[in-house]
């Protein structure tokens, strides 16, 4: 189960809406081993594409170093789907390299109602999990 504060959910959705129709991507860092997402980091989508995303490599290194210095890890890795449901695509599964992370998908295909779902992706196997939102 992903337990996450309301303001972090709102921030992911706002980021996804802002970058629509391109996919938005980012991560939420938390203390290593805590499974507690705390600090949202909006990442540049180097692909600037409505169907693909990739963290900008230079920014990824910078953020990785920051997280290491703070004893943090990526608790959530999120991205948006702008025309399809919030379910991992084949490429999402192929490139999922963080077995400890919650993979969050936000769909912005509907201009009013968003859809937000969370998954574990380990060795090519997708498992959906409940999302518990803590009112902040």
């Amino acid at each position: 189960m992903l337990v996450i504060r309301r303001d972090l959910v709102d921030a992911m959705v706002a980021h996804a809406r802002r970058d629509h129709p391109d996919e938005a991507c980012g991560q939420i860092a938390g203390p290593e081993g805590s499974d507690r997402p705390e600090r949202i980091i909006e990442m540049e989508n180097a692909e600037r594409s409505p169907t693909f995303y990739r963290f900008d490599a230079a920014e990824q290194l910078k953020v990785y170093r920051e997280m290491q210095a703070n004893d943090e890890e990526a608790v959530v890795i999120y991205h948006s789907h702008t025309a399809t449901e919030a379910y991992p695509s084949r490429t999402d599964i192929k490139f999922a390299n963080e077995p400890q992370a919650h993979y969050v998908l936000v769909s912005t295909r509907d201009p009013i109602e968003y859809e937000l779902r969370s998954y574990r992706i380990v060795d090519g196997v997708v498992t959906e999990e409940p999302v518990k939102i803590i009112e902040s």
């Binding site: 996919e23 991507c25 991560q27 990442m43 692909e47 169907t51 693909f52 995303y53 990739r54 963290f55 490599a57 230079a58 990824q60 290194l61 990785y64 890795i77 991205h79 991992p88 695509s89 084949r90 490429t91 999402d92 192929k94 490139f95 999922a96 390299n97 963080e98 077995p99 400890q100």
Partner: protein, 90 residues
């Protein structure tokens, strides 16, 4: 020439769980060959058909090797090599 190589979580099965290991070589290709000698299986995760995998980022210090010669990128004593799988999808 000894360098320190940071290993991402997903590849630590090849290093017995170690987050960073040392290796030697004058180019990234030599460093990867040396890694392979001590941590079998790593090379295939990094190199495909004589080039770096498209979806693996490798940095020498702060430089993305994609812009500094790829596998031929020079490394020198004390450099830090960081391996990060691309975070990508569709």
């Amino acid at each position: 020439m000894a360098v320190t190589v940071s290993i991402p979580t997903i590849l630590r099965t090849h290093t017995g769980g170690e987050k960073s290991v040392s290796a030697s070589g004058a180019t990234l290709a030599e460093v990867i060959d040396d890694l392979e000698n001590n941590h079998g299986g790593l090379k295939a995760r990094l190199v495909k058909e004589g080039a770096l995998h498209r979806f693996v980022n490798v940095y020498v210090n702060d430089e993305d090797v994609r812009f500094s010669g790829g596998l031929e990128a020079a490394v020198k004593d004390g450099d830090n090599v960081t391996i990060l799988p691309a975070v990508a999808g569709g």
